[in-house]
């Protein structure tokens, strides 16, 4: 800008400070967030309170150092306070991270710079995690002092510390990602409920299971290393999914976040399927794990707003018909999201089938209960997606509504089971079999009815419970819900074609 130049000429240039150059190497967003975050009262209070409490506890322990268990007690208390600070308080600071920017209209100002949505979200997350890391370094002196109390498994305790830190990073990613959602119920209440559960878990672990945790973290048991690795990969995937959700919710329409997110989900699912087959994982665990990977991807894909612009289509169109076909699955927006969900489900089912064959187990035969659980869970993901499409009014942000519908379905199933318990007649629940979570109740009902039918004194029930009607119900409901969504999606493909034509015209007319 030439505007301020005359004034600038009269001003001596600012004196460069050596440390200033360092900040140029990190993200502007991180610089901003750290400036704000380190001055925030919450952080200062948590930091000082943690120091004060640990100092008091350690002094008290030194006074009673004759006790043999003093070292373990000190460890327990250090981990308890540290866990509460970094796994509860720090992540909850992320609740307003993106919402405050959206509410203050500052998100628009940021996206007009060179900061993309991902850099904004990542900066927010890294800032809170960095402050948690600062808390981690702040307790290091206490851990060193604790070493002199003796009976310390250094490797296990450091491992546990790292796990707590990673749990903090994951929960922070979830709160930061959800903070872009307008609904206070989802953005605020959900993390608070999660925090309550995690807090209860931390107290229980520090009271009763601290020894078990240390043993696990020593990685001496068979498979504990693999379990840890699998947990880390899963946490990384969920953390990334949460941040990706936040990024896509604040991104300008010309930024495409969906394609990479969907491709990565496909890669994770395919990679897990291959590893599970090669390593011959437990058959019953594969389905739920795959569903766990697919659930957030499906929920996001079927609720994405359809705001397709020509710049997004252009990279796909370079690959001709193949690119257009790929676009049907990977373009941003719910219509392609529904096709993508179908692909993901097919891939998951294929992975389970392949695994059964490779394992040489019962071949194509399935355990009915496993199938019912999988279909019920899948239906719980699909029905809210269909209900959103059936809504008479168009709602711009449907992710909150999706979660609300899913919550209502689960709540309905719980309510029906309570009613059935009260009226001592649960056969009416078949009328609600179309509600996927109710299928879990019905599975239990079939099981109980079968055993109730066996005469007292008989050696054992003949045959086994007949789950086939419920399996068929599950298959039918899932198919209907998916096909219903697909119909809505296909109706909107016309507008996608129009945008593709527009993008092709621009490409042709470009010099």
């Amino acid at each position: 800008m030439s505007t301020p130049a005359p004034a600038a000429a009269a001003t001596p240039p600012p004196v460069a400070h050596p440390l200033d150059e360092f900040s140029d190497r990190i993200s502007p967003m991180l610089v901003k967030e750290l400036r704000q975050g380190l001055r925030a009262k919450t952080f200062v209070i948590v930091f000082l309170a943690l120091q004060a409490m640990l100092a008091v506890v350690l002094l008290a322990a030194i006074g009673a150092s004759s006790s043999e268990d003093a070292g373990r007690s000190v460890s327990t208390i250090i981990f308890l306070f540290f866990s509460l600070a970094v796994v509860i308080v720090q992540p909850l600071r992320g609740i307003g991270a993106l919402h405050n920017e959206i509410k203050g209209n500052t998100i628009d100002l940021m996206v007009l710079t060179r900061l993309g949505a991902w850099r904004i979200v990542l900066g927010k997350w890294v800032s809170i995690v960095s402050q948690s890391a600062l808390l981690l370094t702040a307790i290091a002196p206490y851990l060193i002092l604790r070493y002199f109390f003796g009976r310390m498994n250094l490797f296990a305790e450091l491992n546990l510390l790292l796990l707590i830190f990673l749990a903090s990073a994951l929960f922070t990613a979830i709160t930061v990602g959800l903070s872009a959602i307008p609904s206070i119920l989802i953005r605020g209440l959900l993390p608070l409920v999660m925090a309550l559960y995690i807090g209860a878990g931390i107290f229980a672990a520090s009271d009763d299971y601290f020894g078990d945790l240390i043993e696990f973290c020593a990685l001496q048991e068979d498979g504990s290393g693999w379990a840890l690795l699998a947990g880390l990969v899963t946490a990384a995937y969920f953390g990334w999914s949460s941040l990706a959700l936040g990024a896509s919710m604040i991104a300008p329409m010309a930024e495409n976040h969906s394609t990479v997110r969907r491709l990565l989900t496909l890669a994770v699912v395919a990679g897990f399927a291959v590893i599970a087959t090669v390593a011959n994982f437990d058959r019953e665990a594969i389905g739920p794990v795959l569903l766990l990977f697919c659930a957030p991807a499906i929920a996001i894909a079927v609720t994405e707003p359809l705001q397709l612009l020509p710049p997004i289509c252009r990279p796909f169109l370079r690959f001709g018909a193949a690119g257009k076909l790929a676009g049907r699955f990977l373009y941003p927006g719910w219509p392609s999201g529904i096709l993508f969900s179908g692909l993901l489900i097919a891939l998951g089912v294929g992975a389970v089938l392949l695994h059964l064959r490779a394992g040489g187990g019962p071949g194509w035969a399935f355990d009915d209960k496993f199938v019912i659980l999988m279909l019920g869970a899948l239906g719980t993901l699909l029905l809210p997606g269909l209900l959103i499409r059936l809504m008479p009014r168009r709602i711009p942000r449907t992710f909150s509504l999706f979660l609300l519908f899913a919550g209502i379905l689960i709540g309905t199933a719980i309510g029906l089971s309570i009613v059935a318990e009260e009226v001592e007649n649960d056969s009416f629940m078949w009328a609600f079999a179309w509600i996927p979570p109710v299928q879990f109740n019905l599975m239990d009902l079939i099981y109980r009815d079968y055993y109730d039918s066996v005469a007292p004194g008989a050696t054992g029930p003949p045959g086994s419970p007949d789950y086939q009607p419920l399996v068929l119900t599950g298959i039918a409901t899932c198919s209907i819900y998916y096909l219903g969504m697909l119909l809505f999606a296909l109706r909107n493909f016309r507008s996608i074609r129009e945008v593709e034509e527009e993008a092709a015209t621009i490409t042709r007319s470009a010099p």
């Binding site: 800008m1 600038a8 502007p28 209209n105 628009d108 710079t113 060179r114 300008p252 612009l309 507008s495």
Partner: protein
């Protein structure tokens, strides 16, 4: 600089469900000019400006900045524009200099260049004395200067300012007006919306009046003042001692004189003739009828009058004034409805 106009909007539509926020508007703003965007609340000003700033997208039509389509090339457009929204929140625990430093980093400045740039902008917007004050503790006027400073950091060619003077005290308004004048002299294209029409009239080379999502006039302030004056005649300010209501009562019973607006000690009237003798006759009659007239002087039609008359013409179905807007062409882009 390209030969294309700084801002070009052609047959632009933006629907939100059933609401037609922008309903087929077309206009062009040449480089280096200041254009005021005027309209009632909900007329479609902010929506149009957000589309131009690449923050929203049109349902149909074309919007270009310096010949670059805002939908097709938003990244390029963002380098060319500075955006001042009508309201925005400030950050907690962040000083003025840190605020500008953050945005300078975000625009890609680094090292000494960044510091110089922040310093230049702070001096231009007179923020140097406030450098260490927390940005959320600033007054509205200071906040607007900070926002203007932020929007100038990357030296944009086009400034889009949505209601920058809203809520400002008179001193802050004068300061802001001065800054805009300086920017205009520097050759920047400024597209500014405001409710304060008199100020826009002083600052702007042209005015765009929008109503119900449509452009109803595009031209300079003088054309507008004269062009909307369908009734003709002259306006006079009449001040009396005693009951000011007496002026309006007198106008009711006297033909060829219309009472327009109450004022503290009298009112504003229209005499249906431009002849000064006729005005003298009216004054004489007022005095004869017992009105204690202490002041009687001719007034210019202001932009508020023009705007109200313009809306009146549209309400009466007489149509708006012919404007300088280009003729619409076929829409070049039709994105799908979002859901």
């Amino acid at each position: 600089m390209s030969t294309a106009p700084a801002i070009k909007v052609n047959n632009l539509y933006r629907y939100f469900g059933q609401l037609k926020a922008v309903n087929g508007i077309s206009f062009e703003i040449p480089h280096g000019s200041v254009c005021g965007f005027v309209g009632a609340n909900g007329a479609g000003k902010t929506t149009t400006m957000r589309i131009l700033a690449s923050l929203d997208y049109p349902t149909m039509g074309v919007a270009e900045i310096c010949g670059i389509n805002v939908v097709h090339h938003p990244e390029e457009v963002r380098r060319l524009i500075g955006w001042m929204p009508d309201h925005f929140g400030n950050y907690e625990h962040m000083t003025v200099v840190e605020y500008l430093d953050f945005y300078a980093r975000a625009f890609g400045f680094s090292g000494k260049e960044r510091k110089n740039r922040v310093q230049e902008v702070m001096e231009f917007t007179d923020l140097v004395p406030l450098a260490d004050r927390f940005s959320n503790k600033l007054s509205k006027g200071m906040t607007q200067r900070l926002c203007l400073g932020r929007s100038l950091l990357h030296d944009p060619q086009v400034l889009i300012m949505d209601e920058p003077a809203a809520g400002l005290d008179p001193k802050a308004r004068v300061e802001l007006k001065h800054l805009i004048r300086v920017l205009a002299q520097e050759g920047k294209t400024i597209f500014i919306s405001s409710h304060i029409l008199s100020e826009l009239g002083e600052m702007c080379d042209s005015l765009l009046f929008v109503n119900g999502g449509r452009i109803v006039h595009h031209g300079d302030a003088e054309t507008l003042r004269q062009g909307t004056d369908a009734l003709g005649g002259m306006l006079y300010d009449v001040q009396v001692t005693g009951d000011p209501q007496a002026v309006s009562d007198w106008c009711v019973i006297n033909p060829h004189v219309e009472f327009l607006e109450s004022r503290k000690t009298g009112g504003r009237i229209r005499i249906e003739s431009t002849d000064p003798d006729r005005a003298a006759e009216v004054l004489a009659r007022m005095i004869k009828d017992g009105l204690k007239v202490v002041e009687f002087h001719k007034e210019q039609r202001n932009l508020e009058d023009a705007f109200i008359d313009m809306l009146g013409r549209i309400d009466r179905g007489e149509g708006a004034l012919p404007s300088a807007a280009p003729k619409p062409v076929l829409p070049a882009f039709t994105p799908p409805e979002s859901n």
